[in-house]
């Protein structure tokens, strides 16, 4: 009886434990091993020490993909979170039709990324897209967006902001948990509206911001689909993925190209392991300042 009781939890856990070993732990270790080898899928991997890393560090496209990813992660994500807070505060009012508006802001984030990317490739089409048409009406010559290496990433950030509905909903839930008495007490002390925002709303939202930041960070580091679709040959003319001029070549995309187009599984694994380390370091830095159970 006693032994059976100890065995039962493991039986309950078994589907996940098997999955954990086969689809998480093994791949992490195997990636580390492959990163020290030259491997093209067809002949067995052979040990090359650190040379994959050396090759990457002298590869311009590697650095380009890393910088592009840093841009989307450290500029795009905070911008879209700032926008999400603003919208959540505006939507945290009671008026007729607010439910409809909440749904409307959430909707784009529920749309499949491929569909959202196609939509924005069309919206930001330099000649026929709606944004440049409107800009033209007010006398501004709109940029070439995804055709211009300087404007392609800002275009992707617009798309990212458009898809921030999930963070908006999380912020909205966070706002609704802030006790009204806090605001009332501060107002009695003569606090102004900006002060209420700065000294009560923003600090009280800190755990929610952490949650959104972690989700956003993870999404930024693996940014792939939208850029892959928008920079694919049909949209931008015959060019490699990540065009124009590699301005939309992101880390995960270059990793994919290295592994499955160039069949450089070894150096792709080196990239994968660095991605693993980068995300582990960034997320543990965030988590150290925040406990999941405390909120």
């Amino acid at each position: 009886m006693k032994r059976k009781k100890n065995f039962l939890p493991w039986l309950f856990l078994s589907p996940w434990l098997i999955g954990l070993v086969v689809f998480s732990l093994f791949p992490i270790l195997a990636t580390l091993y492959y990163s020290f080898t030259q491997y093209n899928f067809f002949s067995p991997p052979h040990w090359v020490g650190l040379s994959n890393f050396g090759k990457l560090f002298s590869d311009n496209l590697f650095w380009k993909s890393l910088l592009n990813t840093a841009f989307i992660t450290f500029i795009g994500v905070p911008l879209s979170l700032g926008f999400a807070i603003l919208i959540a505060i505006l939507l945290n009012q009671t008026f007729k039709g607010v439910g409809f508006l909440r749904a409307l802001f959430y909707l784009p984030s529920a749309i499949p990324p491929v569909a959202a990317a196609v939509t924005w490739a069309w919206v930001l089409n330099p000649q026929y897209g709606i944004l440049n048409i409107i800009l033209h009406l007010v006398g501004i010559r709109g940029p070439n967006w995804f055709y211009d290496p300087n404007w392609s990433k800002p275009g992707l950030i617009l798309l990212m902001i458009w898809c921030s509905g999930y963070s908006i909903m999380i912020y909205l839930a966070g706002l609704q948990d802030i006790p009204n008495t806090l605001y009332e007490a501060a107002q009695l002390d003569g606090a102004s509206r900006p002060q209420l925002l700065w000294y009560i709303t923003i600090p009280m939202l800190k755990p929610v911001t952490m949650f959104n930041l972690i989700i956003g960070l993870l999404g930024g580091l693996q940014y792939f689909t939208q850029a892959y679709v928008i920079s694919s040959p049909g949209t931008l003319g015959p060019a490699m993925n990540g065009a124009p001029e590699g301005s939309m070549l992101f880390y995960a995309m270059y990793l994919y190209v290295q592994a499955f187009k160039s069949l450089e599984m070894g150096s792709a694994s080196a990239m994968a392991w660095m991605l693993f380390l980068i995300s582990a370091v960034l997320i543990s830095m965030l988590l150290r300042r925040f406990s999941w159970e405390s909120a």
Binding site: L8, P27, I28, Q93, F95, P108, A110, P233
Partner: protein, 273 residues
């Protein structure tokens, strides 16, 4: 702040929401335009005459229904797998006592943060060795071995169920299987539905995994099918836009039907309950 009605804030939010809706409206309007109107200079908002020809052509030139069928098969099977494989681990991690539980919870959280590209290569190699590439299996099989985020979400829900109910069942002689089957699961409909819906939408939208494993166009999902078509037909915007609208439609419908449950379910996994 708070919940007071604020006129300028209200006007601002309505203006921004128009901007937000504009891309979708533009997409839908464009999809009803004949090709010569799509590329009109200067362009027009309203299609005149409106046509459904794009839709008819889109579902016939793009093998739309094949892609749709594939997407449904993958999403449904994977969702069944996640629901079946996540309930028992979530129950064990919330309602059972055993050594090593704290460490396992830590590992669960850590795997939630594991970026897929970091483990993509060996995962692909596993399925290649099994001879499963070019089938739906690499997309479906992993779902039957637990998903960290879904387990975490269910665990957060199970842990908040009133303990007296579970204890009462135990006093009546129920074992853990029975407590789970007859007490916990019936009380957790909302959480299980949320996990199912989230996983379904994830699989419905997924791009990277189908791109890795499905190398034959007869197996394509809508995501890679539409991307593939678009990358080969640069000038066929009218068909791509129509196909995109049909692609979005099911999400749209499900969403409006289940708006309330869905939005409240979404926040379940976050810090605030």
């Amino acid at each position: 702040m708070g919940k007071r009605v604020n006129l300028s804030g209200r006007i601002l939010v309505i203006l921004i929401s128009f901007t937000f809706a504009a891309p979708l409206i533009w997409l839908v309007l464009s999809s009803f335009k004949p090709p010569n109107q799509i590329f009109l200079q200067p362009p027009k908002w309203i299609p005149n005459p409106a046509t459904i020809e794009n839709y008819i052509q889109a579902v016939t030139t793009i093998p739309f229904f094949v892609y749709l069928k594939n997407t449904i098969i993958i999403s449904v099977c994977s969702t069944i797998g996640v629901v079946l494989s996540c309930i028992t681990p979530a129950y064990a991690l919330s309602r059972m006592k055993f050594r090593g539980k704290g460490i396992l919870l830590g590992i669960l959280l850590a795997t939630m943060f594991l970026p897929f590209p970091a483990i993509m290569i060996p995962t692909y190699l596993i399925f290649a060795k099994l001879g499963w590439t070019g089938t739906f299996l690499p997309l479906i099989a992993p779902s039957f071995f637990g998903d960290a985020f879904s387990i975490f979400l269910l665990r957060q829900f199970f842990i908040r169920l009133p303990g007296e109910l579970l204890d009462a069942a135990r006093v009546d002689g129920a074992n853990d299987f029975q407590v789970m089957r007859y007490v916990v699961i019936p009380l957790s409909g909302a959480a299980i539905a949320t996990v199912a819906v989230l996983n379904f939408t994830f699989m419905w939208s997924d791009f990277v995994r189908p791109l890795l494993y499905l190398n034959d166009s007869s197996l394509y999902t809508l995501s890679i099918g539409i991307q593939d078509y678009q990358s080969h037909h640069a000038t066929s915007w009218h068909l791509v836009l129509a196909a995109t609208v049909i692609f979005i439609l099911p999400i749209f419908v499900t969403f409006w039907a289940a708006q309330r449950t869905f939005i409240s379910g979404l926040t379940l996994g976050s810090v605030k309950e």
